[in-house]
């Protein structure tokens, strides 16, 4: 009862300590992993090129996103809006044919959100648009994008920064109710 | 160089005193002790080390940090709670006080390591000697 002693003690001790530390590291790791990451430029069911519509054709954002100035949600246009032109225009393009396919099948198109905020943030497009904030302030130069990409951080600090510079309210209830 | 070893503290001190009175320059005397003997330093006429300055620096830094942190935090994002003023010093002083102690002790420790040249490779060497007796080493001229 002497030789095995120290090694045993050391082993047991080492294990216990290691286990405890590991548990903590694990917890912290899980913590770091805990956030719903959103891809910056997700693929869309139809590769709608803003660069053509908003860029080359120079359509206003609100031409399609009609609700932006009058509703909290900008909303994407119904397919009927697309069809006003694409009944006749660019019928040969594969993406346009995709679109017509959806319409023919009577199936709504489900886009992947690029700019999204957590459930605990209340954002209203109406107020921002009416305050004269340019769409690109948050959405970046969509008019130059073939595929819409999130270029702004959309973090709280970023929001507050802009609110402060523009003298907009920074009371918590402005965004968190 | 000469090396003297003692079992008892008293003999050790007596001999050390003798050496110094005999005119051996203190800087040529190296000691090793199993525990601290304050008198030894006195005999060699060494003044208390510089650890205290590190401690002081740490303490002041801590207090400053505490106040700066707290005050900046409320000024940068002022929020009204319980009708209290935005800059409410009493609690902030508390933070300052705690950081004083924290930085102070860490400063002192850092200072000690620096001054005592620790961790020292020589001390870590497998054959590093550690006296459980009192040792006086007097280095000869060639020692330098």
């Amino acid at each position: 009862m002497k030789a095995p002693g120290p090694t045993l003690a050391a082993k047991a001790g080492g294990l216990a300590i290691a286990g405890w530390v590991a548990a903590w590291l694990l917890a912290l790791g899980a913590l770091a992993a805990w956030r719903g990451a959103v891809p910056l430029a997700p693929a869309q069911p139809i590769a709608f090129p803003h660069v053509v519509h908003a860029g080359r054709l120079g359509l206003q954002c609100t031409f399609c996103h009609v609700n932006a100035p009058r509703s909290p949600e900008a909303t994407v246009p119904p397919l009927s809006t697309c069809m006003t032109c694409h009944e006749t225009i660019a019928l040969d393009r594969p993406e346009v044919q995709k679109l017509r396919g959806y319409v023919a099948r009577g199936e709504p198109v489900t886009w992947t959100r690029v700019h999204t905020l957590p459930d605990w943030v209340r954002f209203t497009h109406k107020r921002h648009v009416r305050a004269g904030v340019d769409c690109s302030a948050c959405h970046g130069g969509v008019a130059q994008m073939a595929r819409v990409t999130r270029v702004r951080p959309l973090t709280m600090g970023w929001c507050i920064g802009c609110h402060r510079t523009r003298g907009a309210p920074t009371d918590c209830t402005t965004c968190h109710v | 160089m000469t090396r003297l070893e003692f079992d008892g503290r008293e003999e050790f001190l007596a001999r050390l005193r003798a050496l110094v009175e005999a005119g051996t320059p203190p800087e040529r005397i190296r000691l090793q002790m199993p525990f601290e003997v304050a008198e030894a330093a006195e005999i060699l006429g060494e003044r208390p080390g510089a650890v205290r300055f590190f401690a002081l620096a740490g303490a002041l830094a801590g207090f400053g940090t505490g106040l700066a942190l707290t005050i900046y935090s409320v000024v940068s994002f002022p929020l009204r709670v319980g009708g209290k003023p935005i800059v409410s010093l009493p609690p902030f002083l508390l933070i300052g006080y705690l950081l004083t102690i924290l930085f102070g002790s860490l400063g002192a420790f850092a200072g000690f390591l620096l001054l005592a040249r620790m961790p020292s490779p020589r001390g870590l060497a497998a054959d590093a000697e550690l006296a459980d007796r009192f040792v006086i080493v007097v280095e000869g001229e060639e020692g330098r």
């Binding site: 047991a12 | 950081l99 620790m118 550690l130």
Partner: protein, 441 residues
């Protein structure tokens, strides 16, 4: 007789203890290890399912978990007291206990520190509490006592660890010499290559002095700050100015009691009777008695203030404690903390290790109940009669409490085998001093 001979005895026995793990030790290790695991499992359940698994409810938002926090922070106190304060007062009996007391301090803070986290509703965002420049641009609220806790406990932990470690450096160097092979190397590295040269000793002495000087105010401040978690609020029974001294006294009482509870068996099982003489225990017993008197006094003053004061809420509250559903615990706390320790006025009691051991346990039972009564009774009977309600713990809280003891003893058992449990170098010095006094008439 000269210092070194006796000194080397200490050295042999203490470092020898590192080698011999008895079956008692292994058993203890296993039991406390299991309890520690239980603690983390139950905590996991709380995180996944929610704090509803506890018995907490609407008026009573804090209970056993916070009780444990206060309790363990209290335990942590005697460590600093014995090592720092007694060092400054040059109390000789300190040398038998300071090492284990310091270890106890460190472990108790580690355990205590877990509880504020355990009782958080959303522990996964605990970092909101930490003051670092986050992208949200928003900081912790330094006007709230909880960030004070964060700072106080962290400071206390770090300072205690440093103090504990610095005090151990020379002994680690010794251990390195006694243990061959890998473990020797480990101790060597831990000792940072200490050689005990005059130069090192000179700075070391200054450092130790300063650490003691810094740690001493912490004894008073840390538990005062913990007490302000309650005193700063407006809850009847919490909102009193006496809380800071009241808590500090209580903390030292429980800490000292824990020292007895731990060191008496340790002394026996590690065969250190020679180096932990009864006289030293008598010294500890005196501290226990003194703090117990303080605590008893605060009990009286607390009730007195409530009766004297203008607030009907306060008056009702103290009546509720003494005669309400928690009266059993209330009187238990009075007996354990303020009455039983009075036996220590008798020299025989002070010198009887069995009694000191039992008393140590009883006092800690009393101190735990004190915190429980203080927290739960006050919350369950505050301002609005409609909102009154009582609380009783569930098996989750009981399990976590047991687990916290497991974790603490796990740490302590490991310490008792892996590190020198008595300050060898200091003992040597003490012995030398005594020898010197005897030698020089």
């Amino acid at each position: 007789m000269t210092g070194t001979r006796v000194g080397s005895e200490v050295e042999r026995d203490v470092l020898g203890a590192i080698r011999r793990p008895g079956w008692r030790w292994l058993l203890g290790l296993a039991v406390s290890g299991l309890l520690a695991v239980l603690l983390h499992v139950l905590w996991g359940a709380l995180i996944v399912r929610g704090l509803g698994l506890t018995g907490l409810n609407n008026p009573v938002g804090w209970a056993v978990l916070i009780t444990n926090f206060v309790f363990w922070v209290g335990i942590a106190h005697s460590g600093t007291l014995i090592s720092a304060v007694l060092f400054l007062f040059r109390a000789r009996f300190r040398t038998s206990f300071n090492r284990s007391a310091e270890a106890m301090t460190v472990f108790a803070i580690l355990v205590a520190g877990m509880f504020p986290l355990i009782h958080l509703g959303r522990v996964w965002v605990f970092y909101f509490l930490l003051p670092y420049p986050i992208e949200r641009l928003i900081w912790p609220n330094f006007r709230s006592p909880l960030p004070w806790d964060v700072f106080a406990v962290t400071t206390y932990l770090i300072v205690s660890v440093v103090f504990f470690y610095v005090g151990m450096i020379p002994d680690l160097a010794l251990a390195r010499r006694h243990l061959p092979g890998l473990r020797g190397r480990i101790y060597a590295v831990l000792s940072l290559g200490w050689q005990g040269t005059g130069e090192q000793w000179r700075h070391y002495a200054r450092l130790y002095l300063f650490l003691a000087a810094f740690a001493t105010p912490l004894v008073a401040s840390v538990h005062s700050i913990v007490s302000w978690d309650f005193a700063v609020s407006i809850v009847p029974g919490w909102h009193t100015t006496i809380f800071a001294p009241y808590f500090v006294a209580g903390a030292i009482l429980s800490g000292t009691a824990m020292v007895l509870t731990l060191s008496i068996p340790m002394r026996r099982w590690l065969g250190l009777e020679a180096h932990m003489p009864i006289d030293h225990y008598e010294g500890i017993a005196k501290i226990l008695l003194f703090t117990s008197l303080l605590v008893g006094y605060t009990y009286v003053v607390e009730q007195g203030l409530s009766l004297y004061g203008p607030s009907p809420f306060e008056r009702d509250q103290y009546a509720f404690r003494a005669f309400g559903p928690y009266r059993g615990l209330f009187w238990l706390m009075v007996v354990c903390n303020a009455i039983l320790p009075l036996t220590l006025f008798l020299r025989r009691a002070r010198r009887s290790l069995p009694w000191l051991f039992v008393l140590g346990i009883l006092v800690n039972v009393g101190m735990w109940t004190e915190r429980f009564v203080l927290i739960v009774a006050s919350l369950s009977h505050d301002f609005d009669p409609y909102a009154w309600g009582t609380y009783s713990p569930t098996r989750y809280e009981i399990g976590i409490t047991a687990g916290s003891f497991g974790l603490f003893f796990l740490f302590f058992l490991l310490f008792s085998r892996l590190l020198p449990v008595i300050a060898i170098t200091e003992s040597k010095q003490a012995l030398a001093d005594r020898a010197g006094e005897e030698g020089t008439p």
